[in-house]
C-alpha cells in the first residue's frame, strides 16, 4: 500500500546521537520554547497547538498515534474492541493506571471527563468532531438551552457514554465512523477527577455554572492528571515546569524536569538557545540565514514537516472567480519555489496538492496547478477576463507579519505574471475571520489546515458544500464531491477509501477550488544532547512533544 510506505519513509524516528548514554538524573532537564502560554490548563478547553503542548503531557487520552502515524495504539486504555456493526467501542482500561496523586483511574473518571468536555454551557472549542454524527446523543448539543440545568443534565445523561465496571469504558456511536479511533486520541478526550473539580470549586455546582468547574485548572496542586508528567509550577506568561508523574502506568519518564517557556519573540528565544538557556527552539524565518552561516548551529538545525498545508482561497460567489479557468490562472501564476526558497528561506516546501507529506493520501502526481505564467495568461484570455476587471479585487490579509510578507510576495507575483495591478487589504485578524465567515472577500490567504488527526476524513470534509462559509470559505460548487467524500468517510475498506480520497483530491486540484501554495515545515534548533522521537504530529515548535515520556538527556 503506497500511502503507508510513504508514511513510514516520511516520518517518525529518533535522533541518532553518537553518544546514547543517559546523563545523570540531575541533568535530566529539558527546556523548550512553547512560545505562548496555554489559555487554559483544562485540556478539554484547549484548542491550539501551544496549549496541548502542555496538556498532552499531563492528561492522556484512551489512544495515541503510533510514531509513524499509520494507526493508533493503546494509551490510557489497555485495549479496545469495536462491535461488528461499528457502533460500540469498548475500552478496557489499564488496571495499573493511576492519577498523579496516586488514586486509580476508573471508568467513571472517563465518563466525567467526557461529560465535562461535552457540557454545552462550558462551550469547549473542540467539540465538533464529537457531535458530528459520532457519539450517540451528541447531535443534540446545539439544541440545549445552556441556562437550563435540567436540559443540560438530560443531554449529558443521554450521551452514549457508560462505565459498566470500573475498568471498562463504553462509547456508543450514532452511526459507524472508521475515524473514531482518531477522535478519541485527541487531547480533549481525557478523564477528569470529579472530586478534585468539586473540591476546588468549594462544593458541587449546577451544570449551568461556568466559573466553578474551571477553578481547579488555575492551580498546579489541583491539576491532577493521568499523563506522564504533572505540573509543579506555573509562572504565568513565563514558563510552566513539569515533573514526572511517578504513578504513571508505563513508569515515570526519564526527564526530571520539562520546562515549557513562553517566549513569543523568536529572536529572544534564538538568543537564549545560543547561550544554552533553551534546548529546543523554532528558528524565526529571519534568523535562518544566520543559522546556516554558523558552523555549530547549522549542525543542530533540523527541518521537520508538519501536517499543515496552505493555499489561496477565491470567493466563488463573485464573478469571475466562479470560473475555474480564472482560479486556475491565479494558481498557475504563483512561483512557489521562490516563495519557499527565498522569501521563507527554505523553511517551508512548495505543494501543488492538498494532503501534506507525512500522512496517508500524500500524492503529487497531479501537476495541474504547476507554475506556468504563459499558460496562466492564456487561461485568463480564454475566460475573457480583462486586467481592469480583476484590478478591483483585493487580497484579504491578516495583520500578522508572516501573512503580510507572504501576501506582498504573492500579489506581486500575480501582478507581474498576469499583468495586473491588484492591492492588499490588510486588516485585524479577527475581522478577517468575521469577513470570510460572511463571504466578504475576493481572495483570501494564506488559508490553511493542520491535521487534527492524520486521517484524510479530517481534511476532505472541509471542502464539502456543508462546510460552505464555515471552513470552505470560497464555496466552490463541485458536483459529485460531497457524495464521493461521504462514501470514503464511511467506507471500511482502507484501500478503497484511499482511492476515493485520491479522486477527491484530483477534483480539488483540477478545478482549482483553491490555489495550493506550500506545506508548513518547521526549522528547529535542537541541542545535540537531547534524545527524542519526533512525529509530524508533534505540537508546533515542540518537536518530540508527543513522546517526551521517552525523551532523555545524554551525557555531554
Amino acid at each position: 500500500m503506497s500511502a503507508a510506505a510513504i508514511v513510514a519513509m516520511a516520518c517518525g524516528g529518533s535522533t541518532t546521537t553518537s553518544n546514547q548514554n543517559m546523563a545523570s538524573a540531575d541533568k535530566q532537564i529539558l527546556r523548550v520554547n512553547d512560545a505562548t502560554e496555554p489559555n487554559s490548563y483544562d485540556p478539554t478547553q484547549e484548542t491550539y497547538s501551544y496549549e496541548y503542548a502542555v496538556g498532552r503531557e499531563v492528561f492522556e487520552p484512551l489512544l495515541t498515534p503510533k510514531a509513524d502515524l499509520s494507526d493508533v495504539q493503546p494509551a490510557g486504555a489497555a485495549s479496545y474492541s469495536v462491535s461488528s456493526d461499528g457502533l460500540t467501542y469498548t475500552f478496557k482500561l489499564r488496571s495499573n493506571a493511576k492519577w498523579s496523586d496516586g488514586k486509580a483511574v476508573t471508568a467513571s473518571d472517563w465518563v466525567y471527563g467526557y461529560k465535562h468536555f461535552l457540557n454545552p454551557a462550558l462551550a469547549a472549542g473542540y467539540v465538533d468532531p464529537f457531535f458530528d454524527g459520532t457519539i450517540k446523543g451528541a447531535d443534540g448539543y446545539a439544541a440545549v438551552d445552556v441556562t437550563s440545568a435540567s436540559q443540560i443534565d438530560s443531554f449529558l445523561s443521554g450521551l452514549g457514554l457508560s462505565a459498566p465496571d470500573p475498568n471498562t469504558f463504553v462509547i456508543t456511536l450514532q452511526h459507524p465512523a472508521a475515524f473514531f479511533k482518531w477522535v478519541v486520541s485527541l487531547w480533549v478526550a481525557v478523564p477528569i477527577r470529579k472530586d478534585i473539580v468539586e473540591q476546588a470549586a468549594g462544593g458541587s455546582f449546577p451544570s449551568t455554572d461556568t466559573t466553578k468547574p474551571e477553578v481547579w485548572a488555575n492551580n498546579p496542586s489541583t491539576i491532577v492528571g493521568n499523563g506522564p508528567f504533572k505540573i509543579s509550577e506555573i509562572v504565568s506568561k513565563d514558563h510552566t515546569t513539569l515533573v514526572p508523574n511517578t504513578n504513571y502506568w508505563a513508569g515515570a519518564p526519564h526527564l526530571q524536569q520539562l520546562i515549557e517557556y513562553y517566549i513569543a519573540d523568536g529572536n529572544t528565544a534564538f538568543s537564549k538557545y545560543q547561550t544554552g538557556a533553551l534546548d529546543i527552539i523554532n528558528v524565526p524565518v529571519a534568523d535562518v540565514t544566520v543559522v546556516r552561516g554558523d558552523a555549530k548551529l547549522s549542525k543542530e538545525a533540523t527541518l521537520f514537516p508538519e501536517l499543515t498545508t496552505f493555499w489561496m482561497t477565491f470567493n466563488a460567489h463573485e464573478a469571475p472567480f466562479d470560473n475555474k479557468d480564472v482560479r486556475m490562472a491565479f494558481a498557475k501564476a504563483l512561483d512557489r519555489d521562490k516563495l519557499t526558497n527565498d522569501v521563507l528561506h527554505g523553511t517551508d516546501k512548495p505543494i501543488q496538492s492538498f494532503i501534506p507529506k507525512g500522512m496517508a493520501g500524500y500524492d503529487t502526481s497531479d501537476n495541474a496547478q504547476s507554475f506556468d505564467p504563459a499558460a496562466a495568461k492564456a487561461l485568463l484570455t480564454k475566460a475573457g477576463v480583462t486586467a481592469d476587471q480583476l484590478n478591483k479585487f483585493k487580497l484579504l490579509t491578516r495583520n500578522s507579519s508572516g501573512s503580510k510578507t507572504i501576501n506582498q510576495y504573492i500579489i506581486n507575483q500575480w501582478n507581474t505574471n498576469l499583468g495586473l495591478n491588484m492591492q492588499l487589504d490588510v486588516i485585524d485578524s479577527k475581522t478577517v475571520t468575521q469577513n470570510i465567515r460572511k463571504g466578504k472577500f475576493d481572495i483570501y490567504g494564506p488559508d490553511g489546515w493542520g491535521a487534527d488527526y492524520p486521517d484524510q476524513q479530517d481534511w476532505f470534509d472541509i471542502f464539502t458544500s456543508a462546510a460552505c462559509h464555515s471552513l470552505n470559505w470560497g464555496c466552490v460548487n463541485l458536483p459529485g464531491y460531497d457524495d464521493l467524500v461521504k462514501k470514503a468517510d464511511t467506507e471500511l475498506n482502507q484501500q478503497q477509501r484511499n482511492a476515493d480520497y485520491l479522486t477527491a483530491q484530483k477534483m480539488l486540484i483540477d478545478n482549482a477550488v483553491v490555489g495550493f501554495a506550500y506545506q508548513q515545515y518547521e526549522y528547529d534548533l535542537i541541542a545535540p544532547y537531547v534524545h527524542y522521537t519526533w512525529t509530524p504530529f508533534d505540537a508546533e515548535y515542540v518537536p518530540g512533544s508527543l513522546n517526551f515520556s521517552n525523551a532523555y538527556i545524554t551525557t555531554h
Partner: protein
C-alpha cells in the same frame, strides 16, 4: 488631569486647579483629597463608557480564531451565553458598571477561567518593577544633572549635559530601545552574551532590567535635567542665595539647603505627568523587550478582542495616573507654602 501644559520652569508655579480658598490647612487637605478621589468616579465612568462603545463597534468576535478550524455557530452561541454576550449591549454595559462598582472586573475571554484581576495582578509585578526602578533613577539622576549643569553654566559640563538631554528628550524611546538591543545583543554579542540583556523568560531583578529601565527612564531624565537646570538658574539669581554666597558659606551647603529645595518644586509638579509617561512607556518597552507586563497584556488583549481585559487595563492605568497626580498635588502643598487648597 495632569498639568503639563504649564511652564513651571519659568515661574508661574501655580497649577490652575489649585485655587486658594479655605483657612484650616489640614482640614482643607482632607477635603481636597476626598474631592479628588471622588473625581475618579466620573473619570472611570468616562473611560469605561468610551472603551465599551468602541469595543462593541468592532465587527470581529473574541471567539474567531486566527485561521484554521473555526468554532461552530453552536459553540459561539454557547460562549456568548457563558460570558453574557448574548444580552443586549445596554444590559451588558449596566452589568459591567455594577460589577466594577463591586470591584469585579469579570473573566478574561482569552484565558478561560481566569479573572481579569488575577491577570492584571500577574502582569503588575513586571510593570511595577520596571516603573519603580525607572522612577528611582529619574529623579536623582535628572536633578543632579540639572543642578550640575546650572552651577557650571556655560562650561563644558553644561554643554555636554544639555546636549545629552536635548537628544534624549527628542529621540523616541522605542527607537532608543531598539538601537540599544542592536548594539548590545547583536553587535556586541560576543561581549554581552546576547540574551543576558534580553528578558522575557526568567524575568528577574537582574541584568535583564538594565536596557528596559534605561529605555523607559531616558526621556524623563532628560526632561527633568532640563527643568532642574532652568529652575536652579533662577534660584541662584535670587537675592538670598547671593547673600548666602557672599557670606562665604561653603558651596555644597548652599546648594543642598537652598538651591536644591527651591529648584525641586517645579520637578515635583512634573512627577504626575511623569507617571502617566511611565505607564504609556511601559506598553512600548514591554513590547520591545518582551516583558510579560500589563502593557504587553493590553496589546495582546486588543488583538484578541478580550473586552474585559481591555477595560480592566484601561481602568487600572487611569487609576494609577489619577492617584499619582493626587499624591503629587498633596506633596506640592507641603513643599511650596504658597499653595493653598480648595
Amino acid at each position: 488631569m495632569a498639568v503639563i501644559s504649564g511652564r513651571p520652569a519659568r515661574g508661574a508655579l501655580l497649577p490652575s486647579r489649585l485655587v486658594s480658598l479655605g483657612n484650616s490647612r489640614t482640614g482643607s487637605l482632607v477635603v481636597f483629597i476626598i474631592r479628588r478621589i471622588l473625581w475618579l468616579i466620573p473619570i472611570l465612568f468616562f473611560v469605561i463608557t468610551i472603551t465599551f462603545v468602541l469595543m462593541h463597534l468592532a465587527p470581529g468576535s473574541p471567539w474567531d480564531k486566527n485561521g484554521g478550524r473555526q468554532l461552530s455557530q453552536t459553540v459561539v452561541n454557547n460562549l456568548n451565553a457563558r460570558y453574557g454576550l448574548n444580552k443586549p449591549v445596554y444590559q451588558q454595559y449596566g452589568l459591567y458598571l455594577w460589577n466594577v462598582a463591586h470591584f469585579d472586573f469579570g473573566l478574561s475571554y482569552q484565558y478561560q477561567g481566569k479573572t481579569v484581576s488575577a491577570l492584571l495582578l500577574e502582569g503588575w509585578k513586571y510593570t511595577a518593577t520596571l516603573g519603580t526602578l525607572a522612577f528611582l533613577l529619574i529623579v536623582p539622576v535628572g536633578v543632579s544633572l540639572g543642578v550640575l549643569a546650572a552651577l557650571r553654566q556655560n562650561t563644558r559640563i553644561d554643554y555636554i549635559t544639555m546636549g545629552f538631554s536635548t537628544f534624549a528628550a527628542s529621540f523616541p524611546n522605542f527607537v532608543v530601545g531598539m538601537l540599544m538591543v542592536v548594539a548590545f545583543s547583536v553587535l556586541l554579542y560576543k561581549w554581552t552574551q546576547g540574551s543576558f540583556f534580553l528578558p522575557s523568560a526568567d524575568f528577574a531583578l537582574d541584568d535583564h532590567l538594565v536596557l528596559p529601565v534605561i529605555t523607559l527612564a531616558l526621556f524623563p531624565i532628560a526632561y527633568t535635567a532640563r527643568l532642574t537646570r532652568a529652575s536652579t538658574l533662577e534660584t541662584i539669581r535670587q537675592d538670598y542665595i547671593r547673600t548666602a554666597w557672599a557670606k562665604g558659606l561653603p558651596e555644597r551647603l548652599v546648594v543642598i539647603k537652598h538651591v536644591l529645595k527651591n529648584s525641586l518644586i517645579p520637578v515635583v509638579t512634573t512627577l504626575g505627568p511623569l507617571f502617566a509617561f511611565l505607564v504609556t512607556g511601559s506598553v512600548i518597552v514591554e513590547q520591545i523587550f518582551n516583558i510579560p507586563g500589563i502593557g504587553r497584556a493590553f496589546v495582546t488583549a486588543v488583538a484578541s478582542y478580550d473586552y474585559p481585559m481591555i477595560l480592566g487595563t484601561s481602568i487600572l492605568f487611569a487609576i494609577v495616573i489619577a492617584i499619582a497626580n493626587l499624591v503629587v498635588d498633596v506633596l506640592y502643598v507641603f513643599i511650596d507654602p504658597r499653595v493653598r487648597l480648595t
